[in-house]
Symmetry: C2
Subunit: 336 residues, 2 copies
């Protein structure tokens, strides 16, 4: 037996068998649910319904109204009074179950996921780390099981694929992702409308916050670094919540010539959450490590305590940005 | 003979034959060149090169530097001293040739296009109005001609497809568009990098202009209408050009709850260019027609003369927005 099999990692075929051999499913999605965990969960519920099985999708947090165009079609008919089968979708770690963790963390019989960081907390795990979105795995299962992907299932699965890839824009997108997108489109769904809801609609609070963030943006080091500060005052003025800040971190790096984009968010309780986004050749994690943080080469983060004022925090992070920009042994940065 | 054939509209097969039977091509792209006309032109040039033929792509306007990652690979080896064959790509009307119109308008032997509005100005026209991007037509030709689509040709064609569909987001996207995208991806191109250059990089001038536009945005009629005014003062302050304004018209409609988004641009010479974008059930062209303009149901435009001040112009367009919002015989708008 393979080592992976020992750890409970199973094949797509075995996953399909598991679904056939069980019934009355509780499908768990991750906290702060996004398009992919919801598309996977509700898409799987529809798939199970087509197989004559019952299921209910649950989440620790409220499911945003904007996903109702597909969530409303799921049967939600698990009988919690009988024996249930617990499946988690797009949940890399039981911690991500949020308030459902305590009740379910030792009861997850199958996890269907695409995160390479999945820690194998479930009894059985189907992991396809090559999938851009977990909804690709659900689509593969439907195909293998011979289940017809109808229009409502296509709405759910397309949503997950589109949201996890920025509508096929991000580097996780593969040729397979695009082909599944094409197949789902042929189920008769209005993909332009889905993408409008997912990408083109902003709340007024978000628009107001963006305006303030742009106004507060500063450029440093020959405009190679842009820094945006979202202060407590901005939170209060706009009434924005954390969800309104989604994507704010990508603004500073998106400006022509900028290779280090920094976003500082002042916490309600004081102190700062700092996000650093870079383009080659700058390593974002190198900057954040110096302040006790970490992350990836293009996206990293760190924190500064409440003892720092806005100006001091800015000075502190810029000091390390400067050192990385100046430590240019290869001569790539200054030659640019 | 079919009526369309009489007008010079030919099939893909006939288009392929035309390319085989001719040589030394001048490839014309449209003025203010975008990703699709350039992707089509340079992609076709690479295709012709693979067939052992010479060609040069020309344009009335300067080709923006950001497209150089594929334009630099085209041979550009037409011998203008010999007999040439003139082809236009993605050019619906000879007027769109800009400064090249006078020299070439009666000399276009073949036009390859996807605009349903193509007026048949060329001797022969291959028109595929179902194609989201004209680059789909060039891809189809390569397939039919048995020409290997290499990495550089894929860079050109993917760019056209991605830019004309907002990276597969707009309603013109078809399952075929996505499948061609998948095939081009398998030629080994970095689609995430292309999309970053095309969609995620903004000039500082553009960012500054967006900030000002957001600051000047007003809401009317229970927030169902948002209006943005770009004044001459903003032009002067930021030093922005017309190209920096691309996409500004979509901002106002993208706000939650807004069904009529209006953008007023004050002209350098006075007067206003007004763009109206709507969501169902509001007809944008109905609003613009009242001011002598026109357009489509979701996107329309009109103009107001220099006799109007900013405030008067705003009042004028809002009067008609109001009348359309109030003329709600179906009761759809006010019920929302």
């Amino acid at each position: 037996m393979l080592d992976t099999a020992k750890q409970g990692f199973i094949t797509l075929m075995q996953t399909a068998e598991f679904l056939k051999n069980n019934d009355n499913f509780v499908i768990l999605t991750h906290q702060n649910p996004d398009g992919d965990t919801l598309g996977s969960g509700f898409g799987l519920a529809m798939l199970l319904n087509s197989m004559g099985k019952t299921s209910t999708v649950i989440c620790s947090d409220e499911i945003p109204e904007k996903y109702s165009y597909f969530t409303k079609f799921a049967p939600q008919n698990c009988d919690f009074g009988k024996k249930t089968t617990v499946i988690a979708v797009d949940v890399a770690d039981s911690k991500l179950l949020g308030d459902l963790e305590a009740e379910y963390k030792d009861r997850v019989e199958l996890c269907i996921d695409h995160h390479v960081s999945n820690n194998g907390y479930a009894k059985l795990t189907y992991l396809d780390a090559s999938a851009a979105a977990n909804c690709e795995c659900i689509y593969d299962l439907a195909l293998l099981l011979g289940v017809n992907v109808d229009k409502t299932m296509a709405l759910a699965l397309y949503t997950g694929i589109s949201t996890d890839t920025g509508c096929f824009r991000f580097s996780n997108t593969t040729a397979k992702t695009l082909r599944i997108g094409a197949n789902l489109m042929e189920c008769g769904i209005d993909t332009a409308e889905i993408n409008r809801i997912m990408f083109e609609t902003k709340s007024r609070i978000r628009v107001e916050l963006e305006r303030m963030a742009l106004e507060a943006m500063e450029f440093h080091f020959d405009d190679r670094c842009a820094i945006i500060t979202v202060t407590r005052e901005m939170y209060e003025k706009t009434g924005c919540k954390d969800e309104d800040l989604e994507g704010i971190t990508s603004i500073s790096r998106s400006i022509e010539g900028v290779i280090v984009g920094v976003t500082m968010r002042e916490r309600q309780q004081g102190g700062f959450k700092i996000s650093v986004r870079t383009y080659p050749p700058v390593d974002a994690s190198e900057i954040c490590k110096k302040l006790g943080g970490g992350g990836h080469i293009r996206a990293a983060g760190c924190q500064l305590g409440a003892e720092f004022s806005v100006q001091q925090a800015k000075k502190e992070i810029l000091k390390y940005v400067k050192s990385v920009l100046e430590d240019d042994s290869a001569g790539i940065i200054t030659d640019k």
